[in-house]
């Protein structure tokens, strides 16, 4: 080549010019907290198991095992969880939240279909822990304690384990074969179960049987009663008993017209159950408005689809032998219902009260040293009661109540019990550095509308307790998992590597491992801007 003077030279290098010296800020790879996992009451690392599931195939089992690290009931939660993860999901700002709950159910069902099991590799500790109550909190605690090598006995007053998962949630939301299979997997870890064995005096049990620790998870099994003037012939029952009796094989006589009093999820369950038991009219009477109803909107919509009727702003004044007298309410300035004095009649053959649930603390015995407050057992943040070695969680402690919350209590209490038994100080709670939607660069993600699970046809819902919501298949589950934006966590897309104008991002061997060559990184921040997941941040250079 006849090279032009000066402007064209032989090969050279500008590597001697360490442009990193210009930098005032440097890019740092970070792992932020994803909103989904942060919102999960069971403490699942949702983002990570979605990432596992995104590879499909063997990835499904990896994903399932990661769920099982925190929650032994993915198939149950994939059906009954109210998925606060999806409410928190950043993708909701973009189009619709990732269908985390449906993917979890798919993984849970895959595990059942393939018979995946969990082994406890822990060395037996020789410590014995009593769990009182076999609901989600108790079984979750039993699972995590057993996996830590403790000998666990679950004592249950009912003839079958499962607690409110069995006696509170109707089968059309949670088929019993799914529940039984997930419970069996927990018990197969070597957990001893004693059913039909109510604890009546905790102090005595602790004193006589030599337990090293106990976890109290008896739930809130009593339907809340309210005083209603009622004619002697009136059929008034409570929702908890109705649902419980049904599970025991009873077929309660509700009549053709059923009124349900209350506005929570249990009221909806009772009304929908009544429809399935043959009621032509199932009417929910609630004192406030739809917007202020504590029941989940999805459940209300399902109930309406199935023909359940709602009487908003109504209270039951009295029950007569063939119906109710209802008083109309109106909301005051503060949004509280106030009586108006206007009444109307509602024909009803029976009234089901669904006004909340109370705990039954009689098992504590008279001389218990445990501090209780307003019907709940007092606990500290580690779920320890005022009596050393005794912990409590689930519905029996104060706070919000749900299956998933109870599962989370069980796990965290098991960790506390394990710490206590080992004489360890509890590990500090991990710092939360939430990945905000604004940190993402969503341009890089493909448009992908959410998949919705198919549902049982309406005609079959009025007469059977068949499961309503169907699962995803392999394709749709994979698609849904791949909608995850991986908020705050590198997923090895190579954007930083490809975009760096200084070639200062060095890719190490394994996928997703990058380092920044600080000799040449000028701190331009392009990688931060172009990271789809918000997993890189700029920090001021130390001077």
């Amino acid at each position: 080549m006849k090279l032009p003077f000066a402007v064209t030279l032989g090969p050279g290098s500008s590597l001697a010019d360490h442009t990193g010296a210009w930098r005032t800020e440097r890019a740092v790879y970070v792992e932020r907290t994803a909103p989904c996992g942060n919102a999960c009451p069971a403490g699942e690392d949702v983002r990570s198991w979605l990432y596992d599931a995104e590879s499909g195939g063997a990835g499904y089992e990896t994903a399932w095992r990661r769920i099982m690290e925190t929650n032994p009931f993915p198939a149950v939660c994939g059906r009954v969880c109210y998925h606060p993860c999806e409410t928190a999901c950043n993708r909701g700002h973009l189009d619709e939240a990732v269908g985390i709950n449906s993917v979890e159910r798919f993984l849970g069902d895959e595990a059942l279909a393939h018979g995946w099991t969990i082994d406890s590799a822990a060395v037996p500790t020789g410590r014995r822990v009593l769990v009182v109550g076999s609901g989600p909190a108790g079984l979750s605690a039993a699972y995590h304690l057993a996996r830590r090598g403790h000998a666990v006995t679950v004592r249950e007053s009912a003839p079958v384990v499962g607690g409110m998962m069995r006696y509170g949630i109707p089968r059309y939301r949670l088929p019993r074969e799914v529940l039984d299979a997930e419970i069996k997997r927990v018990l197969d870890l070597g957990v001893t179960v004693e059913v039909d064995t109510p604890v009546t005096d905790l102090d005595a049990v602790m004193a006589d049987e030599g337990w090293d620790a106990a976890f109290l998870a008896v739930g809130a099994q009593l339907g809340h009663r309210t005083y209603l003037p009622a004619a002697s012939a009136a059929r008034v029952l409570d929702a908890v008993s109705l649902l419980h009796g049904l599970e025991d094989g009873e077929r309660p006589l509700l009549g053709r017209r059923v009124a349900v009093y209350g506005g929570g999820n249990t009221a909806i369950d009772a009304a929908r159950t009544a429809r399935r038991l043959g009621a032509s009219d199932a009417v929910v009477v609630y004192r406030r408005t739809r917007e202020r109803m504590p029941a989940h909107a999805d459940e209300v919509a399902d109930a309406e689809e199935e023909g359940v009727v709602f009487h908003w702003l109504s209270t039951i004044e009295r029950v007569e032998h063939d119906g109710l007298v209802i008083e109309q309410m109106e909301l005051d300035e503060d949004g509280f219902p106030q009586p108006t004095g206007r009444t109307e009649r509602l024909s009803a053959d029976s009234v089901v009260l669904a006004l909340g649930q109370d705990t039954d603390l009689s098992f504590l015995g008279k001389a218990s040293a445990l501090q209780v407050h307003g019907g709940s057992i007092d606990t500290d943040p580690a779920f320890a009661t005022t009596r050393p070695g005794v912990f409590a969680g689930g519905d029996v402690v104060a706070g919000e109540r749900s299956v998933t919350i109870a599962i989370g209590h069980g796990r965290r209490a098991a960790e506390s019990i394990d710490d206590w038994l080992s004489g360890r100080h509890p590990a500090p709670a991990p710092a939360v550095d939430l990945a905000p939607y604004e940190a993402l660069n969503t341009w890089y993600f493909e448009d992908a509308d959410r998949t919705h699970r198919a549902r049982l046809e309406l005609a079959r819902r009025s007469s059977t307790f068949d499961e309503i919501v169907h699962g995803l298949d392999g394709d749709t589950a994979l698609y849904e998992a791949r909608r995850c934006l991986s908020c705050g966590s590198c997923f090895s897309c190579d954007n930083c590597y490809a975009m760096c104008p200084d070639d200062a991002v060095i890719k190490l061997g394994p996928p997703g491992e990058y380092v920044i060559d600080l000799d040449y990184c000028k701190g331009c921040g392009l990688c931060v801007q172009e990271c789809p997941a918000g997993a890189i941040t700029m920090v001021p250079e130390e001077t």
């Binding site: 000066a6 402007v7 064209t8 030279l9 032989g10």
Partner: protein, 404 residues
């Protein structure tokens, strides 16, 4: 073979026959038809072995051509008006690095005010960018200049701009002889780059040059530009021999012998000008015209020779240097004896028609002594409108004391 065809289409087909490896362009009126036609030719498979890059801007277009040329590819782009200004950063890079390529400029006014019509302010604003600048006086010449431009660019290793009047030429359908593929292949050898980027034989193109050598690099570049005058003439002679018609070259004189008045101009106005010259010659006036085909490098000696004996020279400026004077006129003034009267005239801006009548009146006014030779004359100006507006502007100026 002569056929009725739009100027843009004819240029596009000609460019295609020059077998560019890369076409990168961003559409802008009145250049659009050219690049649309080229994209069609690539899309239809008529132009093979060519990468058509749809870029995001003119800056991207020229930058892509620079990269392509540095990699040893024959590159082509086209633009107009503000489009060439958007290329301005990259224009001296192409020339400074000695990267051959061809660019059509479909001449259009510069805004603001926005105006899509023809004048020469776009190309002339970039007259110092180091590119060769050829102006076509007709669509036939526009076609022929493109073939010559590739030959020149690659012979000199310099970029070449071919300017053709927007709409007047680009959108005119007329009889044009578009050179056949065989003819072009015979005339234009395959591109062999002077320098190219090759991973097997690496070089550094565009290294930083400091004060110790910068002046020398610039001098060599300017020297190469001036030397190019010989090549422009030679390529035009070769073209005439191969294709049997005169196109290109440095200047296009028309009946300048013994002329008392010669009108100097760039571009397509030369056609009408020739008609006016014929008419006035018939009426006994010794008038001629001088078309400047090669504007950069400026053929100083040739212009001097052509105008040496001419007492009055009229320069048609279709662009001017605001706050200074004319552009073409300044080049002409430097090329004529001091005694020559140079009537520097601005007209035909932003598409204002340069008709036969306007040109005839201009020459007659010059002959009648009604057009000055000391200052720039805006010949087709609406003086009344300007006077009104100036008066209005002056009325708006507050008096020194602040009171009115």
């Amino acid at each position: 073979m002569l056929r009725q065809v739009e100027g843009s289409r004819a240029v596009a087909e000609t460019v295609a026959r020059c077998r560019p490896h890369v076409v990168a362009a961003y559409p802008i009126s009145p250049q659009t038809h050219i690049v649309e036609a080229l994209s069609e030719l690539v899309g239809s498979g008529d132009l093979t072995a060519c990468e058509y890059l749809t870029v995001e801007s003119e800056f991207g277009a020229l930058s892509a051509c620079i990269g392509a040329s540095a990699a040893g590819a024959r590159a082509y782009t086209a633009t107009a008006s503000q489009g060439i200004l958007f290329m301005a950063e990259a224009l001296p890079n192409a020339s400074g690095l000695g990267l051959p390529m061809v660019m059509t400029v479909a001449n259009r006014a510069l805004g603001a005010p926005i105006n899509i019509w023809n004048d020469h302010s776009d190309a002339l604003s970039q007259r110092d960018a180091g590119w060769l600048m050829l102006f076509a006086s007709s669509n036939q010449e526009a076609v022929d200049l493109h073939v010559q431009a590739f030959a020149l660019a690659e012979r000199l290793s310099l970029p070449v701009m071919v300017c053709m009047d927007g709409f007047v030429l680009t959108h005119a359908v007329e009889e044009i002889d578009v050179p056949g593929q065989d003819e072009v292949d015979a005339f234009l050898p395959p591109f062999r780059a002077r320098q190219w980027l090759d991973p097997d034989e690496p070089v550094t193109i565009g290294a930083m040059v400091g004060p110790e050598a910068f002046t020398e690099v610039k001098y060599l570049m300017a020297h190469r530009q001036l030397r190019a005058l010989d090549d422009v003439s030679q390529v035009a002679r070769d073209f005439a021999a191969a294709f049997g018609r005169d196109s290109g070259g440095l200047l296009r004189p028309y009946r300048t012998a013994d002329a008392d008045v010669v009108v100097v101009a760039l571009g397509s106005v030369l056609g009408s000008l020739a008609d006016v010259v014929d008419e006035l010659r018939d009426e006994g006036l010794a008038v001629g015209a001088l078309g400047v085909t090669c504007y950069r490098p400026w053929p100083l000696d040739e212009v001097r020779r052509a105008l040496r004996e001419v007492p009055r020279v009229v320069v048609l400026n279709r662009a001017f240097a605001v706050g200074s004077g004319s552009i073409l006129g300044q080049d002409v003034r430097l090329s004529v004896p001091a005694a020559t009267k140079v009537h520097d005239v601005v007209l035909g801006l932003g598409g204002r028609p340069l008709t036969h009548d306007v040109l005839r009146r201009l020459v007659l006014d010059v002959v009648a002594g009604q057009v000055g030779s000391d200052t720039l004359t805006f010949y087709d100006l609406d003086h009344q409108r300007v006077a009104t507006e100036l008066a209005r502007e002056l009325a708006d100026v507050p008096s020194a004391g602040g009171a009115s």
